[in-house]
Symmetry: C2
């Protein structure tokens, strides 16, 4: 019972502060914080006593084994880096690959006695290291006491012991701290922390037990070791190339790649799994959600950063991100793919950039891209909102897939370009290329999305005045017309379309599309009859600023005369297929005799398109119409990528390591107007770090010359790559090859 004075009475509740909620700690949630930064370190005690000290403390330990020196054998020409294919990394630290032995020299104060002396080499990564998590690894020199990483004495000479250490082939990838611990009767004593003993461990495509093992030396040399890339763009029938310096061995790039995972707060324990590493990186390479590396921008306005077309390589981007800790401006798909490629090759995951021509996007992973026509056959631009990208670049990386049934290892698609309508997050993959080819879309990650990028149908709908819609034509061959990548060990291209799709029209292709439907991909079911009039648009190669003729060929396959009301529309488009301006429209009526063909020529004048051009100078021609006699729909689409003027690049000098050379870039403004705000960028793998120059104006017809001196760092065949970029003229490129003698 309570007396009245003790009876509680309600009071007004204390005010709860407004504003963002305070940061909550992990107390009560986990025993220790999840280690999620490679840059975090733990203080490892220099002396760890066994039990409490006696009344006079511990006796001096001078009589026991002591460490005088540790030599990581980390010079580029020493056995570790040559055997581990890490000589090219511009780094003072030891860099090795997992699942393969490396050597460390330890010098004691006296000869090592295997029978009585006990020591261990310890590796530690991240905060709160734990043996069972693989973040604390003691390595013992004897067979009797073994840890997860094997250790053995490979050489003994006076007071010095050389120890061979083999990290497990699935160990965590990143930067480890190294200690040597000696067991004395009173406790364990350790070397002090010393940054010269840091150890970087990478994935190992040369080790058969590593998940990224790739059993082909030519492929490994290309997909891990090659810095010099070619990325394809343009149109499938008029292919253009971009040179790119991946720069994975440049000073600071490896640390920048590890920083990306730290910035993502990726748990250290997940960093040995290439599936998790690549999935995380596909999210982190773009700035959406997570303050990742690159800001996407397709607007044409790059005032506050670097135009996507201006970059020559990944180094500048990665170093800028690691330094500023802010997303770098700006990227489009090939920039995402190229920087992702650097990340993957730098960490040792075999990877390549691929280009898919006519890539379907923004259609929810369904297998339809819609084009809406008025009932007279003319395209209804207000209602046509899907776009097909002229091309799209993504990455493939090579790894086994123990999380999937057998048969889905090998090349995996990952894509860092933010996809607005994918599974809600701005990341994609790894998706098994085998699974995509066979329509096995039930396996993670995002196979259905990539499948749609290469397999969508283009569906033409006719819309009546009252709003009813009727599919009138289905084009099943336009999307995913060709998939290209650079050939290994060569500067040519390789058509890998057959790795994504069975041949058009084959039985297997039909089976795969049915499979895809079983997994919920919606296709257009109706199959409107083909028109008996074909319309073909020619392949054109046109230099920017030129007039040209577009010749439409109508082929009548029927035995009757056909009259076609055709609507020809020419637009300047972004490479995403999004229309900027329609600059040409024509609606002739064409009459074709039975089994005859007729050509209709449209003249395209540069004065009409020049002032509307957006970057990458793509013109998109769509012709749609109706056959009068039958009401059948006739369509054709063609993208013309205008060719830009080239930069001239010349190299002179000895072409020997450390001998000064000279690169001369020359460009003449071919236009009748001045070019303003011009950036020129130049770099070359093993030759020079990225350099840039700014010109406020290049007057009409005038020539600029830029000469740069440099000293090659290493021997081998390489290239200098140069871009010129300004708001009025994007992606002017030039390059010069050279073989450097030792």
């Amino acid at each position: 019972m309570s007396d009245s004075s003790g009876t509680p009475t309600p009071s007004p509740a204390p005010p709860v502060p407004s504003g963002p909620p305070p940061k909550v700690t992990n107390r009560g949630r986990t025993a220790v914080p999840i280690a999620s930064a490679n840059s975090d370190t733990t203080e490892v005690p220099e002396f760890e006593p066994f039990g409490a000290p006696g009344p006079r403390g511990f006796p001096p330990l001078t009589e026991f084994l002591d460490i005088v020196d540790v030599d990581m054998m980390r010079m580029p020409n020493e056995i570790n880096k040559t055997q581990h294919h890490t000589t090219f990394y511009n780094s003072d630290s030891l860099i090795v690959r997992r699942g393969q032995e490396f050597q460390v020299k330890i010098t004691f104060n006296r000869p090592y006695k295997p029978a009585s002396d006990k020591f261990a080499v310890e590796f530690v990564i991240g905060s709160t290291p734990q043996y069972s998590k693989g973040t604390y690894i003691p390595v013992f020199p004897t067979q009797e006491r073994q840890s997860s990483w094997a250790g053995r004495i490979t050489n003994t000479s006076e007071n010095t012991v050389t120890m061979g250490i083999t990290p497990t082939p699935d160990c965590i990838v990143g930067k480890y701290y190294m200690y040597v611990a000696v067991v004395t009767p009173f406790g364990i004593r350790r070397t002090r922390k010393d940054d010269s003993r840091n150890l970087y461990i990478l994935f190992n495509p040369w080790a058969s037990a590593d998940a990224v093992f790739l059993d082909d030396e030519t492929e490994r040399q290309e997909c891990v070791m090659n810095e010099m890339g070619i990325i394809y763009h343009g149109a499938y029938d008029d292919i253009a190339e971009r040179d790119w310096n991946y720069g994975q061995f440049n000073y600071g790039v490896l640390d920048a790649c590890l920083y990306i995972m730290d910035k993502a707060a990726m748990p250290i324990t997940n960093r040995g799994d290439p599936i998790k590493v690549t999935r995380k990186a596909s999210a982190m390479l773009n700035s959406h959600d997570d303050e990742g590396v690159l800001v996407g921008n397709w607007t044409g306005d790059y005032t506050y950063g670097v135009a996507p077309t201006s970059w020559t390589g990944s180094t500048e981007i990665l170093l800028s991100y690691a330094t500023s800790k802010m997303p770098v401006c700006y990227a489009q798909c090939w920039v995402y793919a190229a920087v992702f490629n650097t990340f993957l090759r730098c960490l040792g995951i075999p990877s390549r950039v691929v280009t898919n021509y006519y890539s379907a996007h923004d259609n929810d992973g369904n297998l339809k891209t819609d084009i809406i026509l008025h009932d007279n056959g003319r395209i209804d631009r207000n209602r046509t909102k899907d776009s097909i990208w002229n091309y799209h670049c993504w990455n493939e990386c090579y790894m086994s897939r123990p999380d999937l049934p057998a048969g889905f290892g090998g090349w995996q698609v990952v894509d860092a370009t933010p996809q607005e309508t994918s599974d809600g997050m701005y990341r994609c993959g790894p998706a098994s290329v085998q699974a995509i080819k066979h329509g096995q879309m039930c396996y993670p990650f995002d196979a259905a999305f990539v499948f749609a990028e290469v397999n969508s149908d283009v569906v033409f709908y006719s819309r009546s005045k009252e709003g009813t819609m009727e599919p009138v034509k289905v084009n099943q061959t336009h999307v995913g017309r060709m998939v290209l990548t650079k050939a290994p060990g060569d500067v040519t291209r390789r058509d890998i379309t057959d790795q994504y799709k069975f041949p058009e029209g084959s039985k297997e292709e039909r089976t795969v599309l049915e499979k895809a439907e079983e997994f919920g991909c919606q296709r257009e079911k109706s199959n409107p009859p083909d028109a008996d009039v074909d319309l073909v648009l020619p392949t054109l190669e046109v230099t920017v600023g030129n007039d040209f003729e577009l010749s439409l060929e109508f082929i009548n396959r029927s035995d009757q005369r056909r009259v076609v009301d055709i609507y020809i529309s020419g637009s300047v488009v972004y490479y995403t297929g999004v229309t900027s301006t329609e600059f040409l429209f024509s609606d002739p009526t064409v009459t074709i005799g039975p089994n005859k063909s007729v050509k209709e020529v449209v003249v395209v004048e540069s004065k009409n398109y020049m002032k509307h051009l957006v970057e990458q100078a793509n013109l998109n021609f769509i012709a749609t119409g109706k056959v009068k006699e039958t009401g059948q729909i006739v369509t054709a689409m063609k993208v013309v990528t205008l060719h830009n003027p080239k930069l001239s690049v010349e190299l002179s000098g000895g072409a020997r390591v450390s001998e000064e050379m000279m690169a001369t870039v020359e460009f003449t403004n071919p236009f009748t107007f001045g070019l303003e705000g011009v950036y020129i960028r130049m770099e070359g793998p093993g030759l020079m770090m990225p350099k840039s120059k700014y010109y406020s104006l290049i007057p009409a017809g005038s020539t600029l010359t830029w000469t740069e001196y440099f000293s090659p760092l290493r021997a081998g065949s390489t290239r200098v790559m140069v871009t010129l970029d300004c708001p009025a003229l994007r992606q002017v490129r030039g390059q010069a090859s050279v073989t450097i003698q030792p």
Copy 2:
């Protein structure tokens, strides 16, 4: 050639502004912005002309069909809401379920002439509506012109037509705007936008073609219609219950659920797919990454918000989030699961909250939880960093899985509690319960993670002085001891462990674990022999503040005497298994005769644990030790959840709809100290919205009484739920049942 005056010279580059990059638009990236907010609207023109007007404009349209009135038949007792099971929603708008016909009455200015009059009912959702995306749906009254949604005239009476409309069973779920459009010879004219004609469409578990179809009326009544939840906690052998008011029908809750998807910028076109909706929501229910609904806090310090143990239902949380647009403080697992349940039931996806006892966490989806022992057998608290949650709550939701092979539909696990080490993002599921049971971890999403929560082994390692670690005991039955959910249509519990796992020790269980290993789950391979001494800890039910005895039973199964050095440790733990304070330690030596058993009793005094208690008052006892004769390791673990005092709740009054009633809450402080900063919360489905009261002090021994008046909203059996919560005493609960007469 250029003359010297025209030669460009490099200038300093213009400064690039620092700071965060500017917001980039989607120009060039997509033709139209992706519609990702249900709250966005489009202006639909009231008149859409066919071609240009004549010189005198359009003629007056008075002679054509015109709309006088539209009646959505949206009252709770009208046919639409009763047939669509939406009567309980406290909303003025029409709410229906997809795949099922609803009726709309349209009154014209004259009788409708089917042969000549053309009109359509149009539904629009989000910005940039498109027919092909399902965001613009015209519905026609005749069989000849059909759209994706079927329409028919069900009744005609003078100038009024009743139209039956059937949304497709896969249509987008959310809020649509409705228009009626009439075709005149000069163009289309439309009704004006009018919010009273808004239409909410939900998932439909009653429609066999809907992906969430659930063919069991009892389950549907429980998992869609029931607001009154019971969530299990405590320990598997001493189960405790939490009442929870899901409140999915309360005013504003449906709009709050749609707001969550808007806040996530989830593309409108994905909102008809229960897989995508539940996956997105599992990310959005927690505030990590995305400013989602609830901030997780396990620290015990809830000064800046509401303690997780204090909530009585979801309504207050959801309405606060939708109003403030800021994450709500604070949640632990059952709060995430309960609010997620409200979201799912509110949208029409069948769902239930389940509780897994001894849930393995933070172990990277691997099948091991590590406990490290010193070489004498005592637990090494510094090196033991994994924890096993006493229990963990998640949700199951019911749906077909067209994205997976046949057989994996049905119940799916989704979990909104942020998992630090899952696939890098704070979301989980939907993972097929069938796939988890059969070890088919290759199917999305996150099946491997849930599998580990119910199947991990507890591995005891012995650590030598030099740092080598050796597994000495593997407990394969501790984790995932029991999975419970509320029985449908009843207030009892239902053991659904067999839906997650085959019986312990069965052949199927072994096969499943082998399957899991194939998919990359690491298990402890070594199988140390079982000790021939068993140690059993008793099941205890203890009221907080009481002293009690813990009796350890040692059973010697050998024919020899056994001496065991045992270390008994008692700790106050969070429900996450994380240790707060060790309050008891004892290290007796126990001698057991051949084939005998011996009891060792430890007295636990409340004065030792009381001052250390953290919320949920869990004590964790671990006994570990070594058999002297054999070196075998003996272990036992037991969680004791102390029982709190109860609140008394009494209801009085007529127990009829709209008749005033009274709820009286009484609580006596049983402790010798005052309770400070006390919140009491009360609510009841169909009875009252959430109410709370604050008491700055309840002196020792004193009694508080709180009386609240309310008027029941609807008939049926329901409950009033009350919690009392203060920093010194968490989760005191009380409830009173009542059946309201109409």
